[in-house]
Subunit: 197 residues, 2 copies
């Protein structure tokens, strides 16, 4: 009865502890300034665990981003599902992205450090759940004729990219609570360029 925790269990637990600590450290210090010695020590481990489980520092970032990206896509889908009109549903998803990205953790890790370290989001290993969900919605709207017949990949990339860019602008603004409605309104206006007449 001794092994209250099996080997695989503690391994997964340690993995999550590291990812959780990394979300905090990467968000507050930034990827470059985050010390892996401190990070691992803060959860009672050493760098040995890190390099065994994630390969290198970038690997840990990729794991963090994959997790956050998944959470964001889930929340966006939920927001979109609460609206019936298909076009408004897409805008609800996008607005959800903007509001989620006001979280400094997300801005710093996913929007700033992520592209710089891992390259353009379109070729992240986690295959970008956020981008995939908007692409799905856009493909549907184009098929229904709600949106003009534009290239689905390009349009969805522009829509999600603009949403995150709007969030970066709001987050860097002096008065985010004032900038947010401006950004959302401008975003909706711009997105309507895709609407079929």
């Amino acid at each position: 009865m001794m092994p209250r925790k099996s080997r695989a269990e503690t391994m997964e637990a340690n993995r999550q502890k590291l990812i959780s600590a990394a979300r905090e450290a990467f968000a507050t210090a930034g990827f470059a300034s985050a010390s892996m010695d401190e990070l691992t020590a803060s959860v009672g481990l050493t760098r040995g665990a890190l390099y065994h489980g994630f390969g290198d520092k970038k690997g840990l970032l990729a794991a963090v981003i994959a997790q956050v990206d998944g959470e964001m896509a889930t929340r966006a889908k939920e927001a979109g599902a609460q609206v019936n009109d298909p076009w408004e549903s897409l805008l609800a998803e996008a607005t959800a992205y903007i509001e989620m990205a006001l979280d400094p953790q997300i801005r710093r890790i996913v929007l700033l450090d992520g592209p710089a370290i891992l390259g353009d989001p379109s070729q992240w290993p986690s295959q970008n759940a956020c981008l995939a969900t908007t692409e799905q919605a856009v493909a549907d709207l184009v098929a229904r004729g709600v949106m003009k017949p534009v290239d689905v990949e390009a349009a969805s990339r522009l829509l999600s990219g603009a949403a995150f860019d709007a969030a970066l602008w709001v987050g860097a603004s002096d008065a985010p609570d004032i900038a947010l409605p401006k950004a959302v309104h401008a975003y909706r206006t711009m997105a309507e360029g895709f609407l079929a007449k």
Copy 2:
């Protein structure tokens, strides 16, 4: 007759040599991996010159970005000036941004590393000439009633941000020459959301 070069002249020359070398090094290796020892040695100097003239590594990046940003804004203005119709002039500027950002140097330094190291472009020390020029054009179009009466700051930020995002997508694409026209077309379509009816 000895001092063929005055002190101020050599100082400015060294400054430009460092900036020029940094554009190359930051673009190929990325900001984080660029060694300042190698960089300074490549132009016959040492890190002493760097820290005296730019403060730190980030300072050199800021100087590089200020220079590139200025060049981009100039080229965009030229592209816009070649078109008479004011709305098409704005689109010409934006398309110029997309095409310029296909240069790997610009993508890597200005679009990827820049925001990660210096923060959101809206608050760069060089006060972002690119953003300023599109803001100028947008303000004019709103005043003329060509564009809907949206918030100028928000709209111009979305327009320039989307242009650069489009370039990132094209640059990361497998077949950039195929993706580019798709991106430009989708961009134009989306931007028309701002057009007054």
